[in-house]
């Protein structure tokens, strides 16, 4: 009997070693451990034996059974692994084939630029305010200290709806509205569309966008204006950006300035974008003219403020290297999709 057990073990080992598939291994299991299996038969026949013999043979048989079971497990594991590897091989794909397309739209570059500038001003605690595109002559000119003789009021420069109503030529009218509506402290910015009688060409458009800014509080100084706009420039164009303030003139600010930033293409060395100067003019600014503050009923002895305004198209064209403003309003999908 002991020999028979050994034989079963050796036979099973050999058969399992040769097993090429899970089925073959399973066949071995059935042949040995199944209801009518060789080992089962031996165990079943043990009833005829003496208790001592039964015990001895039982131990031996169980040991063989355990060994065979271990062999089976090992074989099954190996064969499963092989089968899986074969499956993986068969299921291999070409990962360089294109992915399925999820159509994504894009925002217009004007929107992208306004959002970028807005993000900076919001981070500095400015609120976004808006005004209408069709405005009163008062809010666009008189309220901004541009009197009846101001040349920009000409019909050749400004679109009129009536004697008292026009298409705003600057977002600065939102200054007047804000000063009339709010009490200091005021800290706002206002993006929006503006209109001037310019025939479209590569650098002119009868409609364009501006972003206006206004800060009014006690003790606001020209140094604060420099600080705020320098910070803005560094956030929009990068921390290395330098700013330069040059005296200029606007009817609604005094003193007034234009701000240049060091060229963000060449870093100030001089290139085509900055026309070799290393500087790019980016916005107009100044201390709010007392006549403007007075329109809002603000005590000019107590409060001072600064204001600024920039052209969105100009910033976008410089940033993205767009050479023709008309592309902005042609809305060719191939143009807009570049600003995803």
């Amino acid at each position: 009997m002991q020999d028979r057990l050994k034989q079963i073990l050796e036979e099973s080992r050999a058969q399992l070693q040769n097993a090429a598939s899970l089925q073959e291994a399973e066949d071995v299991r059935v042949k040995v451990l199944g209801k009518k299996g060789a080992l089962t038969e031996i165990l079943r026949s043990m009833g005829k034996l003496s208790p001592e013999e039964r015990k001895e043979l039982g131990q031996a048989a169980n040991q063989v059974r355990a060994e065979i079971e271990a062999l089976l497990e090992e074989t099954f594991a190996e064969l499963k692994k092989k089968a899986q590897a074969a499956k993986f091989e068969a299921e291999k794909i070409d990962v360089t084939e294109p992915g399925r397309s999820f159509p994504m739209g894009s925002k217009h570059p004007i929107t992208v630029t306004i959002e970028e500038v807005s993000r900076v001003f919001k981070s500095m605690g400015y609120s976004l305010v808006e005004g209408p595109e069709v405005e009163t002559v008062f809010n666009n000119f008189d309220g901004l200290n541009a009197g009846p003789d101001h040349p920009a009021r000409d019909w050749t420069d400004t679109f009129y709806i009536s004697e008292d109503i026009l298409l705003r030529t600057q977002t600065s009218c939102v200054q007047v509205r804000t000063l009339q509506d709010k009490e200091p402290p005021i800290r706002v910015f206002a993006p929006g569309r503006c209109f001037r009688c310019d025939t479209p060409d590569a650098t002119h458009s009868p409609m364009f966008h501006q972003i206006e800014g206004l800060v009014v509080d006690e003790g606001i100084t020209f140094a604060d204006l420099k600080g705020a706009l320098d910070r803005f420039a560094k956030q929009l164009f990068g921390p290395e950006t330098k700013t330069k303030f040059r005296p200029h003139h606007f009817p609604f600010t005094e003193p007034s300035a234009e701000m240049d930033v060091s060229c963000f293409k060449c870093g100030g060395k001089g290139c085509r974008v900055c026309k070799g100067s290393g500087w790019i003019e980016i916005l107009g600014c100044g201390m709010v003219h007392p006549n403007v503050l007075k329109v809002g009923g603000i005590d000019t002895e107590k409060y001072t403020g600064f204001a600024f305004g920039m052209g969105v198209e100009r910033v976008a064209m410089l940033k993205y290297g767009i050479d023709d403003i008309r592309l902005m309003y042609e809305n060719d999908m191939r143009f807009i999709h570049q600003f995803k």
Partner: protein
């Protein structure tokens, strides 16, 4: 303002190089457009004298010149210029020289042209005689009598001397950008004042006195000012005038300033205009009838011929210079043909007058005639300049011997403009600027600008020269201090105080809509706020529809941009058409923008501005339901949930069978409790083929326009958590055989209305036409989900509820239930 640096040095010292000069002028407030170094682009061009001219043996139009260029031997040069003569001093480009060019009749070459010895029709020529143009001067500045042929120099020069050196051509010409508040800087003296203040140098005024003046101007002329539009009229007289070319130094300065020399009298008036900023005019005294000048507005229906030969119709607001009989000039704009100075003019009247800027502007704009003088008057000129400028003209005439100056002047100046002191406070100026300057430093800056400062301690009483019309308030003083102290030296500080940023709810929703639409695959476009009124015709808007209540622009660039848009769809169609014509096979676009409708009740008030959202698309497999799905996703995201799409067949933009009004249902609180209100948000559909055709879109396209303000009003972004279901759901399917024109929306409404509270969801999952379904019918299948919040539903529960639904369908619709 074009400034020749060489000329500017007459009025103040410039001790820095050109680059530093420009940089510091920019920082003190004189921004520059360009700075050009001139007279540095010629090599080996010298002064020569034509000693001998012989005929060319082989060519009739050429001559052979022998040139003395300072050496022992004469240089032979062949030329075809008609104006050469023996004894003439001329510019000679020697063998191996370089001139800026262009050569006569040829295009300009970058870097100039090299001149080499060669042969012309068989005769040796060792260089070239040059014209103004060949030496790089623009046509508009070349003196009239030097336009054709070689440049014949006026006077004698050292032979063989470097030409640019001899004629003092080397100069820096700077074009300054002058802001409208500083008309005083439209003059050499004004710019010199700025330079002197910037660099701390002295300002020198030009000489205005004459050595020997004879007689009294009042014996020659009388002046009567009848209109307040003339603030001052100063006249001086010069007799024995010899009209000829100006000396070279005067011509050169005009040329560098971009003006063409004409003759000595005209040149001097132009020179002094550039020097002082005061326009001047010279009349032939013989053309002034009665020797009496009257300044008055034009007669009714008057017609006048200006010296450019054009007849001009005048109106009674236009200020004229007249004599006893007729008009002789349009004040401040242009002189008349009838009083022009001629070669035989003997005695002239120099007019140095001040006319009201707004009057000159209106006249010049009405006549569409802008001149150097009118441009200057428009910007505003100090009337106190009249006398000095007239005197300066006389001094220059005497200096160059162009005539004999008559003493005295006739000066009508009814209301003398006096300088006013502006009060400022040292502490306040520091407070505006964020500086701590002391009084002395501020005073130093004011005085460097020729401003007088009085007062003491805190108080500054600053009197600016009357040319500075921009100094009116304390803030103006602050600017003067700031720019001379240097904007770059003002510290950089952060405004005090904290504030929170914010924006309107509407703007939030707008931002969210853009973000969502981009995520849904649509691309944003931006079109003009003004449009053509024909757009609404093109999209088939009804004749009497509100979309035609345009806000009109009184002075549009053209019809295409003459009205404010009432809807966005026409511009959207235009963009779709443009992209289609450019072979872009699929477009999904949107625009969010303002629309405008005239306020019919009160035309004096601002029009109504409302935001609209327009979506347009074609190609790439889009259809009505693609667009509808996009709109539903968008509106749900924006917090507008209960939507109805109601078939519409009357709106001209769309296919009558493929158009829907978009309606939102929301709960409103009424007096007797909450009620459901239906609000129209917009309209969508497949674009009518005639509309698509109009815009050249050769495929089906789809569009929608929504009133964005209404969307915002209905938007409810509040999120409320409801617990996840604890008990299982049961699902039942229903299939119905209905007429083809039965709306699935109606069926769904019946199901929802009949469902008890355990009916959680209704989903359409199939519409079938074809085999086993008779013609004119369709089979529609829904999946219904039942669930109870507090317990597991029994079959009986579901059967009861489902039974109600089935009953309602049978009762309310002409529908046959099919076995599932």
């Amino acid at each position: 303002m074009i400034v020749s640096l060489e000329w500017l040095k007459d009025y103040t010292d410039v001790n820095v190089d050109t680059t530093e000069f420009c940089d510091r002028m920019i920082l003190s407030g004189s921004n520059l457009e360009t700075c050009e170094l001139v007279g540095r682009d010629m090599e080996k061009v010298v002064v020569g004298k034509i000693e001998k001219i012989e005929r060319h043996p082989n060519a009739e139009k050429l001559v052979v010149c022998q040139l003395n260029v300072g050496g022992e031997e004469l240089v032979q040069i062949v030329t075809g210029a008609p104006n050469v003569f023996e004894g003439a001093y001329v510019p000679v480009a020697l063998d191996g020289s370089r001139i800026p060019g262009p050569l006569h009749g040829q295009p300009k070459v970058e870097g100039g042209v090299e001149i080499h010895a060669g042969q012309l029709r068989g005769v040796d020529s060792h260089g070239m005689l040059c014209s103004f143009g060949e030496l790089g001067f623009e046509d508009k500045v070349i003196p009239v009598n030097q336009k054709d042929g070689i440049w014949i120099l006026d006077g004698q020069y050292t032979l063989g001397m470097d030409f640019a050196e001899a004629l003092e051509l080397k100069d820096a010409v700077i074009d300054f950008e002058i802001t409208p508040n500083r008309p005083d800087c439209l003059s050499m003296i004004g710019m010199a004042r700025e330079a002197a203040a910037t660099f701390g140098t002295q300002l020198r005024y030009p000489k205005t006195g004459c050595e020997k003046a004879e007689g009294d101007a009042a014996d020659y002329i009388s002046v009567e000012v009848k209109s307040p539009l003339c603030k001052r009229y100063t006249a001086r007289i010069v007799k024995d005038v010899k009209v000829q070319d100006s000396p070279w130094w005067l011509q050169r300065r005009l040329i560098h300033a971009g003006m063409r020399p004409i003759n000595n009298i005209v040149d001097i008036t132009n020179f002094v205009m550039l020097e002082y900023g005061q326009p001047l005019h010279a009349f032939d005294i013989n053309s002034i009838a009665g020797r009496h000048i009257i300044v008055d507005t034009a007669a009714e229906d008057e017609v006048f011929t200006t010296l450019d030969g054009t007849e001009r119709a005048l109106d009674t607001d236009m200020l004229m210079i007249k004599d006893a009989e007729k008009s002789v000039a349009i004040a401040g704009v242009m002189g008349g043909l009838n009083s022009e100075i001629e070669a035989d003019t003997n005695t002239i009247v120099i007019e140095s007058a001040n006319f009201l800027g707004s009057s000159v502007r209106s006249t010049s704009s009405k006549l569409k005639l802008r001149t150097e003088a009118s441009g200057r008057y428009e910007k505003g000129i100090d009337p106190n300049l009249c006398e000095a400028a007239a005197d300066r003209v006389c001094a220059l005439i005497e200096l160059i011997g162009a005539g004999t100056v008559v003493g005295g002047s006739v000066d009508v100046y009814p209301q003398v403009e006096e300088a006013k002191a502006v009060h400022g406070r040292v502490s306040r100026i520091n407070k505006i600027l964020g500086l701590q300057l002391d009084r002395e430093e501020m005073v130093k800056y004011f005085e460097s600008l020729e401003m007088k400062v009085e007062g003491e301690g805190e108080d500054l009483y600053v009197t600016a020269p009357t040319v500075r019309q921009d100094i009116e308030i304390e803030e103006d003083l602050a600017e003067e201090v700031a720019r001379l102290y240097g904007y770059d030296r003002i510290p950089v500080t952060i405004p005090r105080g904290n504030s929170e940023s914010g924006q309107s709810y509407e703007r939030n929703i707008k931002d969210m809509a853009r973000e969502t639409l981009v995520g849904l695959g649509a691309t944003e476009i931006q079109t003009y706020s003004f449009v053509s009124p024909k757009g609404v015709d093109n999209v088939r808007i009804d004749e009497d529809s509100w979309e035609r209540a345009f806000v009109q622009i009184l002075n549009p660039l053209g019809e295409d941009t003459s009205v404010m848009r009432t809807i966005l769809t026409p511009a959207m169609m235009e963009v779709l058409g443009r992209n289609f014509s450019r072979n872009i096979d699929a477009v999904r676009a949107f625009e969010i923008g303002n629309t405008f409708t005239a306020n019919l009740v009160d035309p004096e008030s601002l029009p109504d501005e409302q935001d609209n959202l327009c979506i347009g698309m074609y190609g790439g497999g889009v259809d009505f339901f693609y667009l509808k799905g996009m709109i539903v996703s968008l509106l749900n995201k924006l917090g507008v949930k209960d939507l109805q799409f109601i078939a519409e067949s009357e709106y001209g933009v769309y296919h009558p069978g493929r158009c829907a009004r978009i309606v939102a249902r929301h709960i409103v609180e009424l007096e007797n409790g909450p009620a459901v209100e239906e609000v129209e948000l917009g309209i969508m559909g497949e674009v009518h083929p005639e509309v698509a055709d109009k815009y050249g879109i050769g495929t089906r396209c789809y569009a929608a326009e929504l009133m964005f303000n209404t969307v915002t009003e209905l938007s409810d972004l509040e999120k409320v958590f409801s617990p996840l279901p604890k008990y299982p759901a049961t699902s039942r399917d229903i299939a119905l055989l209905v007429d083809e024109d039965m709306l699935v929306g109606d069926i769904e409404n019946v199901i929802r209305a009949a469902g008890t509270e355990i009916l959680r969801d209704v989903k359409l999952f199939d519409i079938y036409r074809g085999k086993q379904v008779e013609e004119g019918k369709k089979s529609v299948a829904f999946n219904l989900t039942y669930r109870h919040n507090d317990r597991t539903l029994t079959d009986e529960d579901v059967n009861a509820a489902h039974g109600q639904v089935l009953q309602a369908l049978r009762d309310n619709l002409d529908a046959v239930l099919r076995e599932m």
